[in-house]
Point group: C2
Chain length 216, copies 2
Amino acid sequence: MAKNGNISASVIKRLPRYYRFLGELDKQGVERISSRELSEKMKLTASQIRQDLNCFGGFGQQGYGYHVQSLREEIGHILGVDKEYPTILIGAGNLGKAIALHINFETRGCRLVGIFDANPRLTGETVGSIAIRHTDEIEGFCNSEHPVIAVLCIPKANTQAIADKLVGLGIRSFWNFSHYDLSIDHKGIEVENVHLGDSLLTLTYRTNQMPEGPAE
Amino acid sequence: MAKNGNISASVIKRLPRYYRFLGELDKQGVERISSRELSEKMKLTASQIRQDLNCFGGFGQQGYGYHVQSLREEIGHILGVDKEYPTILIGAGNLGKAIALHINFETRGCRLVGIFDANPRLTGETVGSIAIRHTDEIEGFCNSEHPVIAVLCIPKANTQAIADKLVGLGIRSFWNFSHYDLSIDHKGIEVENVHLGDSLLTLTYRTNQMPEGPAE
């Protein structure tokens, strides 16, 4: 059904949000929703929503709205949530542990199969159901388990060496929480950078612009 | 200098990235940079960059490029990094601790002044230099310290009650890591939502679309 050869990056960026909102609606027992109702919830225009979803062949029926469950399933399929990409996480500090625990890898197209940290005192400690291994074990682990995605929760200074090693071991996709720009040194990989500081700065800006007066 | 009345949300979203890249360049000792060079680094078009920076009165001089340090300072000023908004963080689990430690509140327009958690076993434990307080103390703390920004690192189920309370206590800006949609119930507040799961799904999608073959 999906004709997803040439979808723009901005549409792709919105798909997880659609997936999330539709999941909420599904949980609430909503069966159908119009683009107008969805636009109010998502704070996009109805025409934007129709245009976005049209990229994939169009799911809506004029006058009937979208079938929540099947639209969600289709978007999930496009996003690859039904995949189980074996995933490793490097860096089991607070952030690494939080990411390992809070993100439900099982339903997101990833399956967390290994956690690594350079600190030998963390070796053997479990996060969720996974025991932390020493980073020395990465090579052997990759050779036997063939992970596809790596989550990098390590300081910027350590990232280049680890990334070089992981690319050599066949990792192609990086969820990168360090501030090191991976795509400078490697071609043919996918990198999703998370810059939490940028998000906070955006909020600071908006705080700066707020009119005086109490909230409701 | 800044004529920043009507800046679009998409430009604002890019400003922290400019600020970050210019900081890197400044650290490397780069004094001036052309929009073309900056565009290569940032993967934006040169005309996009000129257009973005023009929103603020235009910093570049034709033929000379941008002065890195003063452009960075000006963008920082627009973003409000020179402010010190007193900030509290609610929820001192792994994620909350990571956020408290990893984000340098000092240089981002925020100053972390309090950390709260509902778990009494965490009370008194320090994160960085700040002792965790019990959530029962939030009211008294807000009445004396008047924090402006709250960082929410708590489960979705608990967010509505805490947010209602915080808005009543004068908090106007929320950096929200829970999946609860704060802006539904409150007007006149600023909310920056962080949905880490959306970011991961974007990566899953792109992993799904990758051609076969080794990376370099």
